[in-house]
């Protein structure tokens, strides 16, 4: 027994001594290096997210954090942030939807297989607002409003911190799958400009992009940084032949034609004892995509206007801006404080062209203003932090006000005329006056976050956040995290927390209906999506939405024997209750009671949002980082990662009993279940390698996405794509690069069944619109960069 004790004690003390010696040896090695060599040493990435007690090395964190650098973003070859992160962040998924109305123009993204609205996005630590677009079609993210991160110019970004853990106890609603904290370029950055041009191997999807990042240094390391970017992305079309119409290619199945104008600024003015700061983002986007083609013989066609049929074009204009301003300082008592205001707004204005309102006959307009949705948030935040010995204490208060609006379209876009019974603009009928919404809510939060360094080997962090929402009441969430270093090279970490996601205003209030003629009694009725508090929804059993509640556990280990090599593995689980989903169309054949209700309210069919299911998500993340500087000053960096997650539905909350046999199937069927459980790859790995020698820098990025299933059970196999970027520095100020994404032109599996005219391996839609890497095939580009 005694021998065991002595052995254990010796082992631990031995490890301690060894650790000290190793650290000292490393420092002594550095001491022998020349100044030039010292300045060339790359330090580990630091992250601010995950703790309110200050930035620290990402690998030292109690919770798993990835840091994506500006250099990695640039070498990805992409000009849109969601595509770049898809290639750099394990578990990040951003399919390119097509034929999904508004979703095509503002594609959602997901993290760890969860929903787009279960990821909190921050810019410089301040909450970024969600899009006003509600994804209601059959796509990944159905029934959610996510953040449109493609509104952020890539060249304005210094780094991106991805926290892979629940953190609602620290940051509030939405931080269930994790947090993406986008840090804008700050002090000490070079001004630069770049232009790029690229296109797919089929010659379409031409992308022209130009940007300028300009930094003005101010006194005391203050700065004003401005980024202006323009991006013109041409459409791609991978539509198959339409067998109904002479095998013509009459659809547009591919990426939208989109033009973005973007502006970002980040500024700090350092006064005597205060720092005044502000940052802002602005994006204006015009986009265009096709709906389904209306054949000449289609009842929805007017042969006078369109003798050959027509393809309605959806052409929204999206405006998005955010602005944060604040002041921070340190009090006499060494309390760090930060008071800020944040405002964000997204306007999504729906326009359709090359269409008509059939019910208006030959005199129908062919383009329409179909109305708009808008979301606005305003936040006042006060953060406080103080270090007391080994205790890092932080806390604060926040008040947030949100507003969601739906504005009607022009009369012709929704009206039911007399020429036919098919009302509204084909492609996207306008919002009706009855659909107009102007809904607001506010919430107040108090939070505390404490980290205590018990010793240099052990730190404990605890956090709690109380929130009160004006619509659904209060929440209290807690987090406990532990980091323990049994040996200098090894960090063990674990966390447990609770979280929540407030129902979005769009889920609670979205209303979109069309007039239709009832076949039952030849009366005109409404059909579509109704707000949860609409009388017909209430009569059908809808209840006020409750917040989604979550429980998280993460356990991981980091092994870092040298500063240039680390490997980590983290297991996670997230149980989410009260997940909100959109029901299917509830029609009068469901039950006699439903028939009576629908008739009473003049409704043909209705759907609404409800707390529908509980899920369990479990997964694994493995990371490997390696960097090495060779004797000839060339450098090699490798980042390898593996991600796996699995979401299972563990409970289903039946709808009101008046729905008879459809109390479950009205909300959960094969299609909706697949979007929760199997429509996103269950696993994937990435291998990012960069080699820099002299004026040359080469980047190779391998991405394997695992298999996934589409709504009818079709399985799409795992695929490996390869990206390559080769850059040559011609002088101190000029660099050119050539590259390709998916250079071996890998495509997803085609649909294997052929019974569906539209969706089949030889039909109009041949590839799955939920393919994580799209279906464009290879894309090649050239880039020129100038340091100003």
């Amino acid at each position: 027994m005694r021998t065991v004790a002595i052995a254990l004690t010796s082992l631990f003390l031995g490890a301690s001594v060894s650790a000290q010696e190793k650290s000292l040896q490393q420092a002594n090695d550095y001491y022998q290096k020349s100044l030039n060599e010292l300045f060339n040493i790359e330090t580990p990435a630091k992250a601010e997210v995950g703790s309110r007690t200050g930035a620290r090395e990402a690998l030292e964190s109690e919770v798993p954090i990835d840091v994506i650098t500006a250099a990695q973003l640039e070498s990805s070859g992409f000009t849109e942030l969601s595509k770049a992160l898809m290639k750099l962040v394990p578990g990040f998924n951003s399919p390119r939807p097509t034929g999904h109305d508004g979703t095509d123009h503002s594609p959602p993204f997901t993290l760890r297989g969860l929903n787009p609205d279960q990821v909190l996005v921050l810019v410089n630590g301040k909450r970024l607002h969600q899009s006003s677009l509600l994804n209601v079609n059959i796509s990944v993210g159905r029934g959610t409003s996510g953040v449109d991160i493609n509104t952020i110019p890539l060249r304005s970004i210094e780094r991106i911190e991805v926290l892979r853990d629940g953190a609602a106890a620290q940051y509030g609603s939405d931080a269930i799958a994790g947090i993406i904290n986008i840090i804008l370029k700050g002090y000490g950055q070079d001004s630069r400009a770049s232009v790029s041009y690229g296109r797919t191997s089929q010659g379409d999807g031409v992308v022209r992009q130009a940007d300028v990042f300009y930094s003005v240094p101010l006194k005391n390391d203050g700065f004003v940084n401005l980024t202006v970017e323009g991006r013109d992305r041409g459409r791609t079309n991978r539509a198959g032949p339409d067998s109904r119409f002479g095998n013509a290619i009459d659809h547009l199945i591919g990426e939208t034609d989109a033009q973005d104008g973007q502006l970002a600024f980040n500024a700090e003015v350092a006064a005597e004892a205060l720092t005044i700061y502000a940052h802002g983002l602005l994006d204006r986007r015009a986009s265009s995509a096709g709906a389904l083609y209306r054949l000449p013989t289609d009842a929805r066609n007017n042969p006078v206007l369109y003798p050959n049929g027509f393809l309605p074009m959806m052409e929204p204009k999206i405006s998005d801006y955010s602005l944060s301003a604040g002041v921070r300082g340190v009090s006499e008592g060494n309390v760090r404080w930060d008071l800020s205001l944040t405002r964000g707004r997204n306007d999504y204005h729906f326009y359709v062209s090359n269409t008509h309102n059939d019910s208006l006959g030959n005199g129908s307009p062919t383009s329409f203003d179909s109305g708009a949705t808008a979301y606005t948030q305003n936040i006042v935040n006060l953060d406080l932090a103080k270090k007391i010995g080994e205790l890092n204490l932080a806390g604060g208060a926040e008040v947030r006000h949100e507003n969601y609006q739906i504005s009607r379209g022009e009369l012709a876009s929704y009206v039911l005329g007399t020429a036919s019974t098919i009302a509204g603009a084909q492609g996207f009928p306008g919002f009706m006056p009855e659909n107009e919404v102007d809904a607001s809510r506010s919430n107040k939060a108090l939070y505390v976050d404490a980290r205590y360094d018990v010793s240099r080997a052990l730190s404990v962090e605890g956090a709690a956040r109380f929130e009160n929402y004006s619509d659904f009441g209060s929440t209290l969430d807690k987090k406990l995290a532990l980091a323990y270093r049994p040996h200098e090279d090894v960090l063990m970490r674990a966390s447990t927390s609770t979280g929540f996601r407030a129902p979005s205003l769009s889920q609670a209030y979205y209303t979109s209906t069309v007039s239709t003629l009832s076949s039952a009694d030849a009366t005109f009725r409404q059909a579509g999506t109704f707000a949860v508090n609409h009388p017909v929804s209430v009569a059908l059993g809808a209840q006020a939405l409750r917040p989604e509640k979550s429980k998280h556990q993460t356990v991981g280990v980091v092994y870092q024997p040298t500063s240039g090599f680390s490997v980590s593995a983290d297991f996670f689980s997230a149980d989410i209750a009260d997940r909100i989903m959109l029901t299917g169309n509830i029609v009068d054949t469901v039950s006699p009671q439903v028939k009576a209700i629908l008739k009473q309210y003049g409704v043909q069919s209705a759907r609404y949002f409800t707390n529908a299911i509980a899920t369990e998500t479990q997964g694994l993340d493995i990371r490997l980082n390696f960097r090495h500087s060779f004797e000839d000053h060339s450098k090699l960096k490798v980042v390898a990662s593996y991600h796996r997650d699995r979401t299972m539905i563990t409970d289903v909350y039946p709808l009101a009993s008046i729905l008879g046999s459809q109390t479950v199937t009205a909300v959960l069927n094969d299609t909706t279940q697949s979007f929760i459980e199997t429509a996103q790859p269950a696993d994937g790995y990435k291998l990012w390698t960069q080699y820099e020698a002299g004026a040359w820098r080469s980047t190779l990025n391998l991405n394997r996405v695992g298999s996934y299933y589409y709504f009818n059970g079709s399985r799409f196999g795992a695929k490996l794509t390869t990206d390559l970027d080769v850059a040559l520095r011609l002088s101190k100020t000029v660099e050119v690069a050539l590259g390709g994404n998916n250079v071996f032109n890998v495509l997803p599996d085609k649909f294997t069944y052929s019974s569906n005219l539209f969706v089949s391996g030889s039909g109009i839609i041949q590839y799955p619109p939920i393919s994580p890497f799209g279906y464009n095939g290879a894309f090649y580009y050239v880039r020129l960069k100038l340091v100003l």
Partner: protein, 176 residues
């Protein structure tokens, strides 16, 4: 069996409380190294002291690393000693003052003290050099950069060698 577990827990707790080396904190390690390397490129006014004194004021981010690293080392022909202070009044006669004070006024007091006593002041605080500090260490884009207030150094009768100046962003105007 229970006894075994108790021993295991005791051993574990002993390990937790033990001050192991600051793990993989590369920036701290580099900062610790840079302090001595900077000092080797400067020329201070003649002092009576036969020791080269490096003082850390306020929080010590290095653990025992500075003491261990500079044990037995010599800068300018003088053995190095490391001291720790919590306020300016405790600094005394030093050759290099590493300032970690977060309070701007306290930090300015330390800068002024250094200037008055011809001490090489070093810090990672934003705006440090422009406020009269001599060497500002920045970690930007995962690399070390330095900003030197040459005017402030000259005003304190501190000469900085060309090799160090050539690697720095240099403020040559009037020192604060």
């Amino acid at each position: 069996m229970t006894y075994k577990w108790v021993l295991l827990v005791v051993a574990l707790l002993a390990q937790l409380v033990a001050a192991t080396a600051q793990a993989s904190q590369e920036e701290n390690r580099l900062m610790a190294v840079f302090l001595g390397r900077f000092a080797s490129y400067i020329e201070l006014p003649d002092r009576a002291s036969k020791l080269f004194v490096i003082t850390v004021i306020d929080e010590n981010p290095f653990g025992s690393l500075l003491d261990d690293l500079y044990a037995g080392k010599v800068i300018g022909g003088k053995p190095v000693v490391i001291r720790y202070a919590t306020k300016v009044e405790e600094v005394g006669q030093s050759d290099l003052l590493f300032i970690t004070l977060v309070n701007p006024r306290a930090r300015q007091d330390a800068i002024d003290y250094g200037a008055k006593h011809s001490i090489l002041t070093v810090s990672t605080a934003t705006g440090f050099a422009e406020r009269g500090g001599i060497i500002q260490l920045d970690f930007l884009q995962q690399h070390t950069r330095i900003k030197i207030n040459h005017a402030a150094a000259l005003k304190s009768n501190i000469r900085i060698g060309a090799p160090l100046l050539s690697l720095a962003s240099v403020i040559r105007g009037d020192a604060q």
